[in-house]
């Protein structure tokens, strides 16, 4: 496998987790600093189930996602009623607690040394198709009433409640979905790089995803996906700048946030309609 394909697969997998953050932080304004912990859980659970217990890869993924969803349900139950700034703090605590747990349970997870020798089962096709399906899921969710409810709750939760939206239930649904996305991304990532360690899944990764969402535009699905590709590829593309890499990366983000406060794409969405119209008119011309 060439270097470029390896990088492209990593970007596709991470983008799935970013889509979860897009739903949670972008659409609903909930800042979870423990989002990456769900990715860690997905990675570890799948790896342990396959390597230590010999379960088939797809089954292990399903179990890992179920685990993450159940855990998200409990965490959400405890945190989603509190104010949004406290939600960020509480999820931060949860995320770091998960890292500590993965580090301390040395006999199962290998501790800080990480868990290695995971078979490379994530094929390029699996990664890219997964991303496409994830985008399709979010697109469908967003154009249903859940998309409008998200915006309504984000901008005025009381008014949303008064007109019949159960805000807590709504936020729970979104939180659980985003945890599921992160866990799935984690599973694919573990079987792509064949190695997991707890430190990867700390709050910095959660923040990176949030930055990507705001960079691309939190009101644009297109922007989030393109933003993810740009910012996840940037560290590789900027390799030639060597030690200046992080600095250049930060300057790019600062420029975008200052010059385009609503993100690179604002509320713009790519639409298939012009393409369809183009092909239709061509057909008509041919018919003539």
């Amino acid at each position: 496998m060439t270097f470029y394909i390896t990088v492209a697969i990593s970007i596709a997998i991470s983008s799935i987790a970013v889509l979860g953050t897009f739903m949670l932080t972008g659409m609903n304004g909930l800042f979870s600093l423990g989002q990456a912990a769900f990715m860690g859980l997905g990675a570890y659970a799948t790896a342990i189930l396959v390597v230590n217990y010999g379960l088939p890869f797809p089954l292990a993924i399903l179990i890992a996602i179920a685990l993450a969803i159940s855990l998200a349900f409990f965490v959400g139950y405890a945190t989603l009623r509190i104010r949004q700034d406290f939600f960020a703090l509480a999820t931060f605590g949860f995320g770091q607690a998960m890292i500590a747990l993965l580090t301390e349970t040395v006999t199962i997870t290998g501790g800080a040394m990480g868990f290695s020798n995971i078979p490379r089962l994530t094929s390029p096709a699996l990664a890219f198709i997964s991303l496409a399906i994830a985008i399709f899921f979010v697109w469908g969710f967003r154009r249903s009433h859940f998309g409008k409810d998200s915006l309504a709750i984000r901008s005025n939760e009381l008014a949303a409640e008064v007109e019949g939206i159960n805000a807590f239930k709504h936020k729970m649904i979104v939180f659980v979905i985003s945890a599921g996305f992160a866990a799935y991304a984690g599973a694919l990532m573990a079987f792509h790089i064949s190695y997991v360690e707890p430190a990867t899944y700390g709050w910095i990764l959660s923040v990176t995803w949030i930055i990507i969402v705001f960079f691309g535009g939190r009101d644009s699905l297109t922007g989030t996906v393109i933003g993810a590709i740009i910012l996840l590829a940037a560290p590789e593309a900027l390799r030639f700048t060597t030690a200046w890499r992080i600095l250049v990366y930060c300057v790019i983000i600062l420029l975008i946030i200052n010059l385009r406060p609503r993100g690179l794409f604002g509320t713009w969405e790519i639409s298939l309609k012009p393409f369809l119209r183009f092909f239709k008119s061509k057909k008509q011309q041919e018919a003539k």
């Binding site: 899921f137 915006l151 949303a160 008064v162 979905i177």
Partner: protein, 260 residues
């Protein structure tokens, strides 16, 4: 024929720490009736509305809606039963169009599960389409026919208030709670608003609970009026009775006027 009571408020009391915002309020709204609650600032009018719409539970007392105690229900549950409201300080959703804003009032009626939206089942799109048609009807009804696709925040204040009313109507309520609908509007806007409320009341046979301190609004619309002062109910009656009541005049204009 005597009209049935729709909302029965019994001995409602709300205390915030040491402050008693509403003290022992008793009153009711009948079927197809507009009642008004008036009083100076800080009289606890909005607090009564907030208790009825479930924003906070009463410290004491109960609210009976069609024979059911609703005083401990959450706002969204009360909305589902058929009570909708507007806010004094307009609470619209940022960056949403008029149509989208009003469509959210139908969200809880959606027949589909969130998993169905992932695969975009046809009935998701069908529900959205039906909702859109219903909402366009409500937008037309409040006279915003040309503004359906405008961003709500870009509209003038008077129109924003109409968006709020349309959103409340989209809940298809039996009772409408209007919290100072005339606040921040000029004289001609208020005139139009009163006509609108009167029209909706007759057409949809709603029960309306109205708060305002503009006498012209209250006197023109209400069949029965409760007067609040410092959290206490000081008087109630028909608009004619209220206008002549010396206690009300004293609360509004001060003691000296009466003595003079």
């Amino acid at each position: 024929m005597e009209k049935a009571i729709v909302i029965d408020m019994k001995n409602l009391t709300k205390k915030f720490g040491g402050l008693c915002a509403v003290n022992d309020f008793t009153g009711h709204v009948k079927e197809n009736q507009i009642i008004g609650i008036i009083g100076p600032n800080g009289a606890g009018k909005t607090t009564i509305l907030n208790m009825v719409s479930g924003i906070y539970p009463p410290t004491q007392g109960e609210i009976i809606f069609k024979g059911k105690d609703i005083s401990k229900l959450a706002p969204f549950q009360i909305n589902h039963l058929g009570i909708a409201r507007t806010f004094q300080n307009i609470r619209l959703f940022q960056e949403m169009t008029v149509l989208e804003t009003i469509m959210t009032a139908y969200s809880w009626r959606a027949p589909y599960h969130f998993l169905e939206t992932f695969v975009s089942l046809p009935r998701v799109a069908r529900f959205e389409k039906e909702t859109k048609e219903k909402c366009l009807h409500w937008i037309e009804k409040v006279g915003l026919g040309n503004e359906a696709h405008s961003i709500t925040q870009s509209l003038p204040y008077g129109m924003q208030r109409r968006v709020e009313i349309a959103r409340a109507l989209a809940s298809e309520p039996t009772v409408l709670l209007l919290d100072e609908p005339g606040a921040g509007l000029n004289q001609s806007e208020i005139h139009d608003l009163v006509d609108l409320i009167q029209g909706l009341f007759t057409e949809l046979s709603l029960s309306i609970m109205l708060i305002d301190h503009r006498m012209d609004v209250i006197m023109r619309l209400c069949e029965w009026i409760y007067v609040q002062d410092f959290g206490k109910n000081i008087s109630q009656g028909t608009p004619e009775q209220i206008q002549k009541d010396p206690i009300v005049i004293k609360a509004y204009l001060g003691e000296e006027i009466i003595n003079a």
